[in-house]
């Protein structure tokens, strides 16, 4: 009954209303005529009776349109329900098929969701604070624990500059500062336990106020902490640390703790879920920034405009845009630097000119992790996306094969009147059910996968504290992905399956030759899909091969020092109060003890060390050299002990190593690396040349050393120079690290080294004790993670493509059994049959490779930034990828070929 009125469109509905009303008027007119009126009078009377015709007509049409819409919605819902019931029945009938499809989709969707979870957590998510969108960040957001000494900067901020910005801007309602703390030794009052080392952060008094964080118990900083230097011995602790360390004991408020020897009282616990403004680092203890010099009495930083270490977050005033904030703060920073830089207006202007200004949205907080993992994660996202495409290809092929098997069902349904669009919709519903089941299972894969990824990323170290819960954006991503997958794998087979030729299908089945009706239709599409999968596999395999080659290159490149025999030892001597002669004496004492240990070849010490994470940069003038940019007058540097170059196994090219005689009482000397020597002295020997640090201090170059990999295994070598540990040209050293060279495995020395340290000073904290090779491996853990995963994806892609090829070839052979039998009957040998099948398969693979190689070359361009020492078109990588692919394809095709070659002619012919 409903179908009678299935007339879509306003015009049709309007015509119906018109007809209905015309009928009424005509009937009424006829009646009035019968009562004796003239036709004209009757018509007028009928219309008068009716009333406002136009309005009635209009509201009737409007009502009808509404009714049509409601009915269509109801119909669609009804059909959807039917389709779902039908789909569920079909899947129950083919549980094997459903399981294979759901599991492969779960793998694809799960892997994508796992990576996206990390992308979301590291790159996309905003801070869990009030209206995070209003926050503006000042400073380079990746420099969360940097400390720079010697010149004003704008990528990390000095405390005096912070105060200038805080007090003289009209851009934000509040501006907070946050900076690194040294390693904290915390002991609790009345507890005689060994010190603990919670993660701490120096923050301004308005920190919690600006962010809008509330206390769980007690109170938070209220801004009064900033009023005077060193006058607020209070701390706030995180909910997580409160839970972990104090089991949520409310009595913790008011307790006194000792931080690096100074007493502080805990005034409150921050609200649960707030772990600080740094993504990938959970903070335990917040200390007022004004207490910095109390925690680090040997390194006061609050009054010095050239000690830069803070990052700032402000809350924009209503109506202030981020661009205005950028312009405004940049001007303020510039002005403050110009006003406070000694040495004349020109120098001050030049200094301000060189600054790197960073003012950007602070909604997502700061993160060193984000800087390190952004590109790797996006690369993996691309790789895993390709994998999903390949999986969709496989599922599409399975569905196509099934579509052929169901062509009879489709013809019957069409014959009894189902429209094509209805059939397509029903098939798509089946696909959607498959995809949603896959997505559901995929979420489980993702939950587990993202944790696996984090532990892989940690590479044996501590796991990044990243929140990998499947929140709303992640779920939306997964749902979107499933729908996209349905479009990719379901649409084509659905269209194909619904395009059945009624007559031929019925006839074919009447002759009971299975699948004959769709012959010649399925093959090209399925084969194209395989070629496409091969092409995508080529892209993934080439990418993986390039990354593997690059990593190999990094790992085997000559670092210019003895990678396999060095033990790097760090002690917190400066933090424990060693300075000046006492520090030097400690260094000499320990170094002597290490050198005398059995199995030690040589030992020395330094300030920054090797792969330690800290680096210095100092400026100087060189006679006869005119700097073109500001950076030309400085180089990285380290202060090192006697025999340092020998100890680390570096190659001395010219001159001499430092000796015991290079100390605070002797003339200043320096050793430069090869890159530095070439840069400043391209035509002369650097030996005897002077590095002029200031008007009164200068050092003579006494040696040239071959470039070494000091802190990074990747990138171009940089200019670097070394000065004696005890010479004070740069104002003394901030740390003490030893480089102990072993004859054999350096980790065998760990216990002995620790024992020597305890013997000299039992209270001296050992903050690092690791073989150099481990430190080096950690420095490339992002590269290692990406390479391992990319290789994994490549292998999966290969496997899937091979399975797809195997399936298509098997299917083709089943269809051609008769033909093969005939050939054998006519005298074809086994080899001929195998050759025929293999040629057929290799044509597909060749097609895929032909499409895949240009794609791979284009895609690997995007990898360029992550490749070190390997061209993005590296022939060896491409050849390896193609070789592996060809071999797998050959195996995948050989199995069905062998089966085909055993076809007995009679059996085959009888089958036809």
């Amino acid at each position: 009954m409903r179908r009678v009125f299935r007339i879509f469109g306003r015009a049709a509905l309007a015509r119906e209303v018109e007809d209905e009303l015309a009928f009424h008027l005509d009937m009424r007119t006829a009646k009035l005529i019968a009562e004796g009126l003239t036709p004209e009078a009757a018509r007028r009377e009928a219309e008068r009776h009716f009333g406002d015709l136009a309005t009635v007509r209009q509201s009737c049409v409007t009502l009808d349109i509404e009714r049509e819409r409601a009915m269509r919605r109801a119909d669609l819902l009804d059909e959807l329900r039917q389709d779902l019931v039908y789909a569920a029945r079909m899947l129950r009938r083919n549980p094997g098929f459903a399981a294979v499809v759901v599991l492969t989709l779960a793998l694809g969707i799960g892997a994508n969701t796992a990576i996206f979870t990390l992308v979301d957590a590291v790159v996309l998510r905003t801070l869990p604070v009030e209206r995070a969108g209003e926050l503006v960040g000042i400073g380079n957001p990746t420099r969360t624990s940097s400390l720079s000494q010697g010149s004003p900067r704008a990528d990390i901020i000095s405390y005096p500059l912070y105060r200038d910005l805080r007090d003289h801007n009209q851009l934000v309602t509040g501006l907070l500062a946050s900076g690194r703390t040294p390693s904290l030794d915390v002991t609790l009052e009345r507890e005689a336990a060994a010190p603990e080392h919670p993660r701490g952060r120096f923050v301004s008094g308005n920190y919690f106020g600006v962010l809008g964080v509330r206390p769980a118990i007690g109170r938070l900083f209220d801004g009064s902490e900033d009023r005077a230097i060193g006058a607020a011995p209070v701390v706030v602790i995180s909910y997580a640390w409160w839970t972990r360390r104090f089991r949520r004991d409310a009595a913790v408020v008011g307790r006194t703790i000792s931080i690096n020897g100074a007493g502080f009282s805990i005034i409150g616990v921050a609200a649960p879920g707030f772990d600080g403004e740094i993504v990938g680092r959970l903070n335990d203890v917040w200390i007022p920034v004004t207490m910095q010099a109390v925690v680090q009495p040997h390194q006061p930083m609050l009054a010095d405009r050239t000690i830069c270490w803070l990052l700032l977050l402000g809350r924009l005033r209503p109506g202030v845009t981020i661009e205005e904030a950028r312009a405004g703060f940049s001007t303020l920073i510039r002005q403050s630097v110009v006003d406070n830089t000694p040495g004349g207006a020109a120098t001050a202007e030049a200094t301000a000119q060189q600054l790197n200004y960073f003012v950007d949205s602070g909604a997502r907080g700061f993160s060193a992790v984000r800087g390190a993992y952004r590109t790797p994660l996006l690369t993996l996202m691309a790789g895993v996306g390709l994998l999903l495409l390949i999986i969709c290809g496989n599922v599409a092929n399975l569905l196509l094969a099934r579509a052929v098997a169901r062509s009879r069902e489709m013809s019957v349904r069409m014959a009894i009147g189902a429209g094509r669009s209805r059939l397509v919709r029903q098939l798509l519903t089946e696909s959607l059910v498959l995809a949603l089941l896959g997505a559901g299972a995929g979420l489980a894969v993702a939950w587990w996968g993202s944790r696996l990824l984090l532990s892989l990323a940690a590479d044996g170290g501590s796991v990044l504290p990243i929140d990998t819960r499947l929140d709303l954006p992640v779920l939306a991503f997964t749902a979107g992905l499933s729908v996209l997958a349905v479009g990719l794998f379901g649409l084509m087979p659905a269209l194909r399956a619904s395009r059945v030729d009624l007559a031929s299908t019925m006839r074919a089945h009447a002759r009971s030759v299975g699948g004959f009706g769709a012959r010649g239709q399925r093959a090209p599409l399925g084969r194209l899909l395989i070629a496409g999968q091969v092409a995508l596999s080529v892209v993934l395999l080439v990418g993986a091969a390039l990354l593997v080659r690059s990593l190999r290159g990094i790992q085997t490149a000559d670092p210019g020092l003895d990678r396999d025999h060095l033990l790097i030892v760090e002690v917190a001597a400066v933090g424990r109060g060693y300075a000046g002669e006492r520090l030097y004496a400690l260094a000499r004492e320990l170094n002597g003890r290490f050198t005398r240990l059995p199995g030690v070849v040589a030992s020395s010490y330094s300030e920054n060390g090797i792969f330690s994470g800290t680096e210095s940069n100092n400026s100087f003038q060189v006679a006869g050299f005119t700097p073109r940019t500001a950076g030309d007058s400085s180089a990285n540097s380290d202060q090192v002990g006697p025999g340092y170059l020998h100890a680390i196994g570096a190659r001395l090219l010219q001159g001499r190593d430092f000796t015991e005689a290079d100390n605070g009482h002797s003339a200043s000397v320096a050793i430069v690396n090869q890159t530095m020597a070439r840069f400043y002295f391209p035509n002369t020997s650097p030996i005897g040349q002077m590095l002029r640090y200031s008007d009164t201090t200068a050092a003579a170059i006494v040696g040239v050393v071959a470039d070494t990999r000091d802190h990074e295994l990747t990138g171009e070598p940089v200019r670097r120079f070394y000065t004696p540990y005890e010479q004070l040209d740069f104002g003394g050293v901030g740390s003490l690290r030893f480089e102990v060279r072993a004859a054999g495995d350096p980790s065998a020395l760990i216990r002995a080294v620790a024992k020597e340290i305890k013997a000299v000073d039992a209270q001296l904290p050992i903050t690092g004790l690791e073989p150099l090779s481990a430190l080096m491996r950690q420095s490339i853990r992002e590269e290692r993670l990406v390479t391992r995963l990319a290789a994994g994806f490549g292998v999966l892609a290969l496997l899937l493509a091979a399975i797809g090829l195997y399936g298509v070839m098997t299917y083709a052979i089943t269809r051609r059994t008769g033909e093969i039998g005939l050939r054998v009957a006519l005298g074809a040998q086994r080899g001929d049959v195998i050759g025929m099948i293999l040629r057929d398969a290799l044509r597909l693979v060749a097609l895929g490779v032909a499409a895949g190689v240009p794609l791979a070359l284009a895609a690997s361009q995007l990898l360029q930034g992550q490749l070190h020492g390997v061209s993005s078109a590296d022939p060896l990588a491409i050849a390896t990828a193609l070789g592996v692919l060809g071999l797998s394809a050959a195996i995948a095709a050989l199995l069905p070929a062998l089966r085909a070659s055993r076809v007995a002619p009679l059996v085959a012919l009888r089958q036809e």
Partner: protein
Amino acid sequence: MLHPDGGLLHGTLDVLVLKAASWGPRHGYAIAEWVRTISDGELLVEEGPLYTALHRLERKGWLVAEWGYSENNRRAKYYQLTPAGRRQLRTEVSAWERYTRALTKALAATSALPA
């Protein structure tokens, strides 16, 4: 049921239409004639709003319509009550009865105070 100006009280037209359609398929003109006849022309001042009511009730799913041919062999739209429409009619009729009973009782009262 009547407005002071002779028109229908709001909402009453729908009940009348449902009632008219409850005896089987009828076209709009027939329903208009029925309303006119049973009320001696008192209830229906204008016939146009009747059609708005028909389409509104169809939209609500209380009426269902089908094109057919009239006695004089013209194409006409026939309305008929759906099961939901029948339920609705019953509800409205009993509501009217309660209302009029109460009103009648009130108007027949002889004292301002409860007995």
